[in-house]
Symmetry: C2
């Protein structure tokens, strides 16, 4: 940290005192917002991401509409797979589909080396635009963690049991490790490039890692996450390390790296933080469905999380996973106000 | 426990010493077996369940083919919803679909009271047949836990985010509690009827409970699971209490009830057992995908679980969730042999 930052979000990343708990939401730009749907009426997700002005506009939408304390680059964790050679499509109502999933060692050998500036220059340009437009609001860049990205690349899309992924891990470990090696290199380079372009923090999304036992996490995922996180941490910006279903993985994730650990709602925030210890920040952890609840119930759940955080420096309020389609925008806005109001009172600034 | 039982499975349920660790698998009768597929070629799942001779035959298939230490009644956790008034169908490739899901308090009030002997007499008859045919092999009956059954009844099928379920919980708590009240009564009666018909143990499946935070589990699920488990435990047979993604719910599940707690693979067995304490048995917890692994890898994972169990009485070997479609039968059979062989050595009987 070169200078003590002014923004609540960055201060909390460094566990510095704040005037109110900072709050942002994973997937805070998206289909639940009418402004976003208006843009998506004419452009696909990938078309938005390829147009820096539009991607920047979409990134800004929740900043204007909600009053959140940080912006997160509008993009997708699977984007780096395209220049690596995978044919990615966001099929309607199906989520991402990869038409040539990775199966064999030859498929892995065929993957290109990522050169962020030439391959994903539009993402870096979006970051440059955003830094000018955002002013005091910090910008978060992000990437998927090697395990989660590998699982998409192998399954060819979403999965429930991760049968192909684990069958490859268990049955063809050399192919697995070769794939993870290439992905770790690409994702590390991508995160570092985002920081150089102006991202003031980055988040590593290991959304699917909770399908692994702690033993398998240590064998098959942790070394590669660690490589990406350590590379990101050399840039001096805060690094948030997030996954879901991670109650039994928290310590291993912390060992892998990160300035802040993201928790899902299955771990009470105080218990999660005490597993991690006091020397690290935590982000989370409202159930995304709570945003559909009547406001008094939502308020109780927000209050419960703040009470568990106990006003200790180092808490960033967020959901335990991304905002769901159909979430009422007014409730999201209300949640931001509740976090600020209730943390001002409870912290006593 | 009226008399000290002879079977490994029942002995382990009571934490008595065994000659080798007992093993059975959730969903051990099913599509991965050619014998089962032969029967399913002519009958739907519900048609099998309605025919006691056929249901008994399907229940016996894995006992003959695999050498497991217990049989589990071939049935489905959603079966009791049919006499309650819900229109259940197993659509091809889609899993269960309920055509008239529960939405309002009127829908809940309309639910019938379950009378197991008249409503589900075919299930009880299957149990009677099986007790004659199984000989020394104990028979496990089962039911879904109120939360998981309610979630199916509300969502109308499988779900990822449980949006309708939680929206009802948070937004219409009276409707939720009325539904859970009716389901707890029905499921308790159903389990008790299964024991009276001859089931020598029962398992309560709360497969989806891991979507709840511990706080929500305590408010919305635990009291009803507890009522069902306590009713089942009055029968004197062992009661296995199982869920997935339960790392942060284990103590609350134990408080709700059960003689044995089922663990999924995300909690290392020794850590799960130490959270629960020594006065309760544990069941689990191989990743179902490990059955697809090459045999040396499978053997290492089996060995790891037995090592974590440490030969202590009270461990029942199982998967952390049901057997997946496409699982190689030879590997399932090999896993049974590995458990017996390796536990004989490690326990030193």
């Amino acid at each position: 940290m070169p200078l003590e930052p002014a923004s609540r979000f960055l201060r909390a990343c460094y566990r510095l005192p704040v005037d109110a708990t900072p709050v942002w939401f994973m997937r805070q730009a998206g289909r639940y917002m009418p402004e976003y749907r208006a843009i998506r009426a004419n452009l696909s997700l990938l078309e938005i991401v390829e147009r820096p002005q539009v991607a920047a506009e979409v990134t800004m939408q929740p900043v204007h509409a909600l009053g959140v304390d940080a912006a997160i680059l509008f993009s997708d964790i699977l984007l780096p797979l395209v220049p690596l050679g995978l044919q990615l499509e966001f099929a309607k109502g199906e989520g991402p589909v990869i038409h040539n999933p990775v199966c064999t060692i030859e498929d892995v050998q065929r993957l290109r080396v990522l050169e962020p500036r030439s391959d994903l220059g539009h993402v870096l340009e979006t970051i440059t635009i955003l830094r000018k437009e955002l002013g005091e609001i910090p910008l978060i860049g992000f990437a998927g963690a090697p395990f989660t990205v590998a699982a998409y690349a192998i399954e060819g899309g979403a999965s429930r049991d991760f049968l192909r992924t684990k069958t490859l891990m268990y049955g063809a470990p050399k192919t697995w490790h070769a794939l993870m090696d290439k992905l770790a290199e690409a994702l590390a380079a991508y995160l570092v490039a985002q920081v150089r372009a102006g991202a003031q923090a980055v988040q590593l999304f290991d959304s699917w890692v909770g399908t692994l036992s702690p033993q398998d996490y240590a064998r098959f995922a942790q070394p590669y996450s660690s490589r990406v996180l350590k590379a990101a941490q050399t840039t001096s910006v805060p690094v948030i390390h997030f996954g879901t279903h991670t109650a039994t993985l928290l310590r291993s994730m912390q060992q892998a790296g990160g300035t802040v650990i993201g928790l899902d709602w299955r771990v009470p925030l105080d218990e999660g933080w005490s597993i991690l210890g006091p020397d690290i920040g935590v982000q989370g952890n409202l159930d995304p469905v709570a945003l559909f609840a009547p406001l008094p119930e939502l308020r109780e759940q927000v209050q419960d999380i703040l009470r568990r955080a106990g006003g200790r420096p180092g808490h960033i309020f967020n959901l335990g996973h991304g905002i769901l389609q159909g979430t009422p925008v007014e409730h999201v806005k209300a949640a931001v106000e509740m976090v600020h109001e209730l943390s001002r009172v409870s912290v006593g600034f």
